[in-house]
């Protein structure tokens, strides 16, 4: 695009607004902005501030400046934090390397209209309709020591398979449960994307003698960039903000520590809210970092 064309574009976009337009616009921008600041940014900033204080959560006049003490305590003296971080990283790895690719694979197969694709589509999407909390309740009923699966195997609670209590396997049990829902979610997103890929592109690559895999890798996947970004961002966010399923199954105890439950455990209950705030800030930094980096990289290449 030449520079004159750009200028023309710019000029044509600038429009004169009437007074009524301006009032309407400022109301439509201003009111949501006000609530956004009030309900999102101010609490977020206060949380960051709180994480640098000592406060039991009661009587604001007793709040004391603590500097980095809460973070020092978390990083050096709270083994649960590192355990939680490890679990979140495994979660991310599992979602990124197994669940999300599986969702994409399913979407691709269903998009090819394999036999019974309508059935598969519905079957895989069904868990997404359920909230994470309900997912947790269902699987808890199934896998508890006195639950359905152990009952089916004729095991009583004294020799039941410990799906949630055995620390060698429980993370994979939880991840399987989480994937049960995540795969369908990714599948649907990707399916919507695939439908928008120009059929002629595929035909052309088929005529050129490309294999199915080559077509996907070289033609379909790159042409779905916007959906890919969404899928990656969702995978990261879902892995880091994981909370519901674990909370339903383990309660607010540290039975299975992940960052989400640590935030809750320290903010809810009787006191020590500042440590919960510090966990929330750590979680925030972890989530925002990779996402900003990724979006920047993507937009940069778009501009070029």
């Amino acid at each position: 695009m030449s520079s004159t064309a750009k200028d023309i574009n710019k000029v044509s976009r600038r429009r004169a607004f009437s007074k009524a337009d301006r009032t309407t616009l400022s109301a439509f921008v201003g009111i949501p902005l006000f609530f956004h600041l009030l309900l999102v940014w101010i609490p977020a900033l206060l949380t960051i501030l709180l994480s640098f204080t000592y406060w039991s959560g009661i009587s604001i006049n007793r709040i004391k400046w603590a500097g980095l003490a809460n973070y020092k305590n978390i990083f050096f003296d709270t083994p649960a934090f590192w355990e939680a971080l490890k679990n979140n990283v495994i979660w991310l790895g599992w979602f990124g390397l197994i669940a999300t690719p599986l969702g994409i694979l399913l979407a691709y197969q269903i998009d090819r209209q394999i036999r019974g694709h309508k059935f598969y589509e519905t079957a895989y999407y069904l868990p997404v309709v359920l909230s994470l909390a309900v997912t947790g309740i269902i699987w808890n009923f199934l896998l508890r020591p006195d639950g359905f699966v152990n009952g089916l195997m004729g095991r009583d609670i004294d020799n039941a398979i410990s799906f949630f209590g055995n620390y060698n396997i429980n993370i994979y049990v939880i991840l399987t449960i989480a994937s049960w829902r995540h795969i369908g979610y990714i599948m649907l997103l990707y399916l919507a994307g695939l439908k928008s890929v120009d059929l002629s592109l595929r035909e052309a690559s088929a005529l050129d003698g490309a294999t199915e895999w080559q077509t996907f890798k070289k033609v379909v996947f790159p042409s779905m960039k916007p959906v890919n970004i969404i899928v990656i961002v969702i995978t990261i966010i879902e892995s880091l903000r994981a909370f519901d399923i674990v909370y339903i199954i383990y309660g607010s105890s540290a039975g299975f520590p992940i960052l989400g439950t640590l935030v809750f455990q320290n903010i809810a209950g009787e006191g020590a809210s500042m440590k919960g705030a510090a966990y929330a800030v750590i979680l925030f930094v972890l989530s925002i970092g990779p996402i900003i980096a990724y979006l920047r990289a993507t937009f940069k290449s778009d501009v070029q």
């Binding site: 003490a69 020092k72 305590n73 020591p145 809810a268």
Partner: protein, 438 residues
């Protein structure tokens, strides 16, 4: 004539009605006067949605309303949710009176000015309670902020029929060696000796409490929980050393079971003994009267002869009045009734859905212990043997330490029992990192 008569009679009827109305009004105020001051409607916050406690509360509230004509609005919350939300609840628009626990957990909120002073209530009903209950109801400033309802002991529970079948005598299990020998015998018969669950993160605190009290004594235990002793002390290591000796006799899925899972092991006769608060007897009774009659309790065995069996966890449940409530007088008036023998009797008369009385050991000394069922009498005996009474770990130390720190620490010990030194170290460091209270 007839008209006149009619007129007179009509007038006199009206007059009579007016007098009657006055009389009724006077009677009403007299009635209210002799019951208590008219304190108006109030709200009651229950810390349970279970059938038993709900029936008790409804009976108590009905009796109170019948006596004072004060309407009581009943709000029930599931106990974990209630606890998690308590700070916010008390700082917002709480119910006037709410169910809570005695000891440190009450003092913590009293210190922050969130509980109303109940010294007046204690002035009128205090003589119905022994001194230990008054101490447990007293804040750090010497004023009372709590009215006790009931207590229960933590001890070793077992089934009489099982002991009979195994040829065991509970009277012979008085010290650690005898207890371990008994557990070993149970293990050889394919039974779980010591049923345990800690998925909830609080259940095993009771085991820590009792072993610490048995090994190191009452004073060390309370000093440790108040931060006057250090968690890195070799005495704490000793607690875990003893606890580890129980591990081979526990069910392998401790972290997969909550308290009720452990109870199921005992109920189904798959486990020989369980350390738990006797409150779960209500669940046995719900199962069947026979199961309840089979339930028995003994004190946790002696470990260190110096301390014998002199300490027991016996938590007291009861009520507080929220300072931020709209009707503090109403809340206090309600608790004056609830804590009085009249209210206690109303609570004790409550029946479950099958029409059976709900067992309760009241804190009020007016409850006739002769009316206790055999299991309650055993609880009383276990209690009577103890010289020192503690509440429970999560009621005897800072709430921001017990739940978020000690709970996970014990769970991580179950995951890796060899990590004792590391666990002690982080416990101490996290205690030191707590915000100063004042």
């Amino acid at each position: 004539m007839s008209d006149l008569n009619n007129g007179i009679s009509r007038r006199s009827v009206l007059k009579g009605a007016a007098v009657g109305g006055l009389g009724l009004a006077a009677g009403g105020s007299l009635l209210a006067g002799c019951g208590s001051k008219a304190t108006g409607p109030l709200a009651y916050g229950a810390r349970s949605v279970d059938a038993g406690p709900t029936a008790q509360n409804e009976a108590l509230i009905a009796a109170y309303t019948a006596k004072t004509k004060n309407e009581v609005k009943y709000n029930a919350t599931e106990s974990n949710a209630f606890q998690n939300n308590l700070s916010q609840y008390l700082q917002g628009t709480p119910d006037d009176t709410f169910e809570w626990m005695a000891g440190y957990r009450m003092q913590f909120f009293a210190e922050q000015g969130l509980l109303a002073d109940l010294t007046g209530v204690w002035d009128s009903i205090g003589d119905q309670y022994s001194e230990s209950y008054k101490i447990a109801s007293t804040g750090l400033d010497g004023k009372q902020y709590f009215v006790p309802k009931s207590w229960y002991p933590w001890g070793l529970h077992f089934r009489k029929s099982m002991f009979q079948d195994l040829g065991l005598n509970a009277d012979n299990v008085t010290n650690w060696d005898e207890y371990l020998k008994m557990l070993d015998g149970m293990k050889k018969k394919g039974l779980v000796g010591f049923a345990a669950g800690d998925k909830g993160g609080w259940e095993a605190m009771g085991t820590f409490d009792i072993i610490n009290a048995r090994v190191n004594g009452y004073q060390f235990h309370v000093d440790l929980l108040a931060g006057r002793e250090k968690w890195t002390d070799a005495k704490v290591t000793d607690v875990f050393t003893h606890w580890a000796q129980l591990l081979p006799y526990m069910n392998p899925n401790v972290l997969d079971l909550e308290w009720d899972g452990a109870m199921q092991l005992l109920l189904q006769k798959k486990a020989g003994s369980m350390l738990m608060g006797s409150w779960f007897g209500g669940n046995f009774k719900e199962q069947s009267d026979a199961d309840y009659a089979d339930l028995s309790i003994i004190p946790f065995p002696e470990i260190n002869p110096e301390h014998g069996r002199d300490t027991i966890d016996a938590p007291i449940d009861g009520w507080c009045v929220a300072a931020n409530g709209t009707n503090n007088d109403g809340g206090a008036d309600f608790l004056k009734f609830a804590g009085d023998m009249e209210g206690v009797n109303a609570t004790l008369a409550a029946k479950d859905k099958d029409g059976k009385l709900i067992p309760m050991t009241s804190a009020n000394s007016g409850q006739d212990t002769a009316s206790y069922d055999p299991f309650q009498k055993e609880q009383l005996a276990v209690m009577a043997e103890a010289k020192y009474i503690t509440q429970f770990l999560d009621r005897d130390t800072r709430p921001d330490f017990a739940g978020p720190v000690v709970g996970p620490a014990i769970q991580s010990w179950f995951k890796n029992p060899k990590d004792v030194a590391k666990i002690q170290d982080t416990l101490q460091k996290q205690w030191e990192a707590l915000p100063p209270l004042a």
